[in-house]
Amino acid sequence: MTASAIAVRGLVSCREHAVVLDGLDLAFEAGQVAAIVGPNGAGKTTLLRHLAGLDMPAAGEVELHGKLLASLDPALRARSIAYLPQAASAYWPLRARDIVALGRLPHGADLSRPLGSRDTEAIQRALERVDGVGLADRPIDTMSQGERARMMMARALSTEAPILLADEPVASLDPAYALETMKILRDEAARGACVIVVLHDLGLAARFADRIVVLADHKVAADGPPDMALAADVIDAAYGVTFRHVSVDGVPQPVAWERQE
């Protein structure tokens, strides 16, 4: 059996002496979209940060293709894992094309020098995938929130890493942008990437993910295909909410209905 694209084994994460993740074992495969859902404070973002190598585990390990992530050369790690943080933004009003080009830094690009043809091609492909070629020469501060989010996604795509981590990429986006973003992530998986995305919207997760990991109380509450992971006995307890378990075209679309007393 070949090693998973990325995996955590016995991952324990602590912040200021509080346990955020308590002994997680998860393996993620190439060519799939895995959604991580769960109530606020369950540790979704923390899990993603560990997968990106940004936080160090208190115990356990993160493995990239069977090798310890912590012992990997930062440049190799950066080429292998693209990370799109929550509410990604830029501190300076850079041109969109420059922002997307930053995704090529792991490949040795330097924006103060002329970019190589492999870099410019990757930047162009990333812009095309988010339908942003027409925006490329505009400064980021003149864009709408949706356009900006697309450029940030293009920055993550231009690395062309085999693993793509996205933390709530559809938060505060209109339905049209949200659907488009999910389609972009699906396309990446179809190209063979291992896509791991933190989502709040269970309906979107059910429609676009191959697999859903439900985190609750710092542990994995469920892990499996959408109809299994979003089953009544799982998410009602995980969220402390009674859901109406509706299904549209055979896809579960749970609706949060009442807070449990």
């Binding site: 940060r49 990106a52 190598g53 940004l54 930062p74 440049a75 790690r77 950066a78 080429r79 894992i81 693209a82 990370y83 943080p85 990604a88 933004s89 830029a90 501190y91 300076w92 009003p93 850079l94 041109r95 420059d98 922002i99 930053l102 995704g103 830094l105 792991p106 690009a109 330097d110 924006l111 103060s112 400064p139 501060d141 920055r155 690395t159």
Partner: protein, 318 residues
């Protein structure tokens, strides 16, 4: 743009050799005339060029690293700390026994201030809080300088040091140039290669790290580089404020706001500003020559006010 700046710099450099109490000294055609050029004007012009360059570059580096357009060695207290350390070296007698004590003390003081500020940013300090921290560091450094002077047995110490701290490159001979130049050049060489990671930091520290930036070693590298540049500059010329603020501002929009792209142009603009200002103070009809640092503050402080007002609301909100 860089080509025009270089041309302007060359013109200003020649003017700096020519302007002063004795105009066009080489036309005197005597040993005295050439002595003025070689021993007074040339070191002064070269120091102006180097000090302006490193101040402009330090401003661009600090603004890129701290992701804050209002940061500058003078405003946030880096120059003041370098000044305090240099004053200590001077009045402890260390500078008299060991020639390099002055620049080394300045470098240490500057590096400590940069490290303090970087530590603050790591734990998430906003733009305004950072500037207030700079105010505090400036105040502490000024108070400590006064304390050291009060303890000094030399009755003229206070006047001497106030004049020196106000920033000037008058009468700095080749000895001063030789003492400070290597450190300034070394510091510039250390930070000039960091441009691509400053670019990455425009997306925030987490994203920069995910792109392969080792932010801890980058922080050490920039602290060392800025410390070398500002410390050496301050130890020979005192505090010349606002150059590091103005230089990156003048060119940022022209280079598309990318931090790495501001480094070299900021260095050239900084050198232009200080060389130009040092010529202007010689021409002003003041009884005694106006201190260079006083002049840059007179011009630069209103610039800071304007920059604060123009700064994007989002920068100030955090």
């Amino acid at each position: 743009m860089n080509r025009w700046l270089l041309l302007l710099l060359a013109v200003l450099f020649l003017l700096s050799l020519a302007v002063g109490p004795a105009w066009w000294p080489w036309r005197l055609g005597t040993d005295v005339g050439w002595a003025i050029v070689w021993e007074l004007r040339l070191p002064r012009a070269t120091l102006g060029l180097l000090i302006g360059g490193v101040l402009g570059l330090s401003g661009a580096v600090l603004q890129g690293w701290l992701r804050n357009p209002l940061t500058e060695p003078g405003v946030i207290g880096v120059s003041a700390c370098a000044g305090f350390a240099a004053v200590c070296a001077f009045y402890s007698g260390l500078a008299a026994t060991f020639a390099l004590a002055l620049p080394l003390a300045g470098i240490t003081g500057a590096a400590i201030a940069v490290a303090l500020l970087m530590g603050a940013v790591r734990s998430g300090t906003g733009t305004v809080s950072l500037l207030l921290m700079g105010v505090a560091i400036n105040a502490i450094a000024a108070a400590l300088i006064s304390l050291v002077l009060a303890l000094s047995p030399n009755p003229f110490a206070y006047q001497e040091i106030s004049l020196w701290l106000a920033g000037s490159i008058v009468d700095r001979d080749l000895h001063y140039l030789a003492m400070a130049a290597p450190f300034m050049v070394l510091g510039a060489a250390i930070v000039l290669g960091a441009g691509r990671w400053l670019d990455a930091l425009s997306l925030g520290e987490d994203t920069a790290r995910s792109l392969g930036a080792d932010t801890r070693s980058l922080g050490l590298r920039l602290t060392l580089g800025v410390g070398l540049m500002v410390g050496a500059a301050t130890s020979v010329a005192g505090v010349i404020g606002f150059v590091g603020l103005i230089a990156p501002h003048l060119i940022r929009a022209r280079v598309g706001f990318r931090p790495g792209a501001t480094l070299v142009p900021s260095m050239l603009v900084g050198a232009t500003l200080v060389l130009g200002a040092d010529i202007v103070v010689r021409l002003l009809p003041t009884a005694s020559e106006l201190q260079l640092g006083v002049f840059t503050s007179l011009v630069g402080a209103p610039f800071l006010v304007r920059a604060v007002r123009k700064a994007h609301a989002a920068w100030l909100a955090t």
